[in-house]
């Protein structure tokens, strides 16, 4: 069992293209859920539309790659309007229902036999991002960072991917520190109050849904380009829940929360995967207990355990603000009286407050 191998696998997972893709998509979800309080349970639908926008435009219609990306983004914007216009005047749960359904409907329709001429059906579409790799300025070879090594192809995707993440995070930073972002956060707290102060809440919610959806689609585009392949079943509902997981892990409603969350999530997942395989390989774990084929599922159980522990001890996420978190927990129900805290937590919190 080689610790260096485990750590380098984990490091590759944490910095690799997939972590960048998830970070980008989660930045979009953070605008919805973390800042505006929109319950979007179908973020994967935006990724799907982005990915297929590229794949279909290039592989089926022989369009240029940039046009594919544009098609993906426009499609995601339209999807956001389609989902938002009818539901955002209603209570928050209606958007949740509409989005989770939309994600599944799109996946199933793209999978269907009748859609095969355009979407490739279950086989999906492949080899459409050649133009992206053709402009790779990085000379071929292997690039290392300590024990980590990446091919020139990976480095190129990572460069673009993390560049996009940085750009999105910077844009979000500017937005949430503006009056516009203040309105979004206020809507998250109490939309009636915001309405009473003369803000067009519906308009802001639509803007938020479209903006987050576009960033989600950018993640999907990157995913398609990185894999050079799309199949509908890549866009399972579980992707959305990974995004929620890493968003809450990093700290929802913080600018860098989703980025840190994604890095950490993929670090833990790759670490668990590699450690289990190494342990089996070295004979620490009998193959009769865990077969190598079980590792894929078991690593999620381990990561889940880690997340449960983290959220028990730090429910606001890594970058979140505890004072804010307590308000969120206490906001419902009795806004007038200070919340009575569970007795076993009183002493610790008093100390904490005294220290501030």
């Amino acid at each position: 069992m080689d610790l260096m191998v485990i750590l380098s696998d984990a490091g590759r997972g944490a910095l690799g293209p997939v972590a960048a893709i998830y970070a980008l998509a989660a930045v979009g979800l953070n605008i919805h859920f973390g800042y505006t309080g929109l319950l979007n349970f179908g973020h994967v639908a935006f990724m799907l539309v982005g990915a297929y926008g590229v794949a279909v435009t290039v592989a089926v219609y022989d369009g240029p790659l940039w046009l594919g990306a544009l098609v993906g983004l426009i499609g995601a914007g339209l999807l956001a309007l389609l989902l938002g216009l009818p539901t955002l005047r209603l209570r928050a749960d209606y958007l949740a229902i509409a989005t989770i359904a939309a994600g599944e409907v799109l996946r199933i329709v793209f999978n269907a036999g009748f859609a095969q001429p355009v979407t490739g059906g279950v086989y999906g579409l492949q080899q459409f991002a050649g133009a992206f790799y053709a402009v790779n300025p990085i000379p071929s070879g292997s690039y290392g960072l300590g024990p980590l090594s990446f091919t020139q192809r990976d480095v190129w995707v990572m460069l673009v991917g993390w560049g996009a993440v940085a750009l999105a995070a910077l844009g979000l930073f500017l937005l949430v520190h503006s009056p516009w972002g203040r309105v979004l956060r206020a809507i998250r707290e109490d939309e009636e109050a915001v309405r009473s102060l003369g803000k067009n809440v519906y308009g802001y919610k639509i803007q938020s849904l479209v903006l987050g959806g576009l960033i989600g689609a950018a993640g999907g585009i990157l995913l398609a380009v990185d894999a050079q392949s799309v199949t509908p079943n890549t866009f399972n509902p579980v992707v959305t829940f990974y995004l929620y997981t890493l968003l809450i892990l990093g700290g929802a409603g913080t600018v860098l929360g989703p980025v840190l969350g994604s890095v950490l999530f993929w670090f833990l997942l790759s670490f668990a995967d590699s450690a289990l395989r190494q342990a089996i390989g070295a004979g620490y774990v009998s193959p009769q207990v865990i077969e190598p084929a079980d590792v894929g599922a078991l690593r999620f159980a381990l990561v889940g355990l880690g997340l449960v522990l983290l959220l028990v001890f730090r429910p606001e996420g890594i970058l979140g603000n505890r004072a804010e978190m307590r308000l969120e927990a206490g906001a419902a129900g009795t806004p007038r009286r200070p919340r009575r805290r569970p007795p076993n937590q009183v002493s610790g919190r008093i100390k904490e407050e005294a220290g501030q």
């Binding site: 500017l174 707290e189 102060l197 004072a323 906001a331 007038r336």
Partner: protein
């Protein structure tokens, strides 16, 4: 002649015409299933005075507030604010036109600081539009002005020390103060206060009373719902009483306090003497 003196000549009958009405309500009805919650034939609210809206529980006062401010829709009827039609307009447009309400259960924005609560309410902020929001120089000067104004109001409402705290950590009374101060950031011409004194301790009540009369003295119109008769009788220039959705009486405070229909509505039709306590 001040707006208050102008009221002296107005007859104390339901639906009485006012010399300078700020809000005019006509035939507004709101049904919930088979129950007619609001059935207001005609109501005029005089500009620049404090009008108290009273009535027993379930009289339809809050529903009328909700309808007039665009938070609920009327089944029929129309109303005009400042001489322009206001019926059916969405809440945010009415607020921008200068008709701002507060809520019976305070609605502070918990995970925003007190200052952010205030700054949010300023109208016409350039940085609230998506594009300019990205470019700080386009709105930073305006933001600084908004912040100065917010700080002035916070000082006036004795919330300056809480400026950077999350609003969710304020006490019930402080929330009432914040809500009123925040409404002022909109610079409203007509303020509708839904039970501003509910759940407030006597010391703070004096403060709030002062703030409400200040609103009038600054030339704003105030319409408020309140259950505390001391408060209503002390600060109102005019009192309107609702029962079962209808306006059953209106007039100067003393006239309404002695009105037969009002006493019947509060106490039932069998009673001995009015039980309003003496105003201070």
């Amino acid at each position: 002649m001040t707006p208050r003196e102008a009221l002296a000549g107005v007859a104390a009958v339901p639906g009485a015409a006012k010399p300078d009405p700020h809000l005019v309500v006509d035939a507004v009805r709101r049904d919930f299933g088979g129950m007619r919650a609001v059935d207001v034939e005609h109501l005029e609210v005089q500009r620049g005075v404090i009008t108290g809206l009273i009535g027993p529980n379930g009289a339809g006062k809050t529903t009328l507030f909700n309808v007039l401010t665009g938070f609920d829709r009327a089944d029929s009827g129309h109303w005009a604010f400042d001489g322009r039609n206001a019926s059916g307009l969405p809440a945010h447009r009415l607020a921008r036109r200068g008709m701002v309400r507060t809520f019976q259960l305070t609605r502070v924005l918990s995970r925003l600081t007190v200052l952010e609560n205030m700054k949010l309410a300023a109208v016409g902020q350039r940085g609230e539009r998506f594009g300019p929001a990205l470019l700080r120089p386009l709105w930073s000067a305006q933001e600084a002005r908004v912040e100065r104004h917010a700080d002035e109001l916070l000082t006036r409402f004795r919330l300056a020390a809480k400026r950077d705290d999350y609003a969710g950590y304020l006490s019930g009374g402080q929330r009432k103060l914040l809500e009123m101060a925040r409404a002022l950031m909109v610079d409203p011409a007509l303020v509708l206060l839904d039970e501003p004194m509910a759940g407030v301790n006597p010391a703070l009540r004096q403060d709030l009373l002062g703030h409400i009369t200040d609103l009038r003295d600054a030339g704003r119109t105030v319409l408020f719902v309140e259950h505390d008769m001391d408060v209503v009788m002390t600060i109102s220039d005019w009192v309107v009483c609702m029962a079962e959705g209808r306006i059953i009486a209106e007039g100067p405070p003393a006239a309404v306090a002695g009105n037969r229909a009002v006493i019947d509505a509060y106490l039932g039709s069998r009673h001995d003497e009015p039980e309003f306590r003496e105003g201070r």
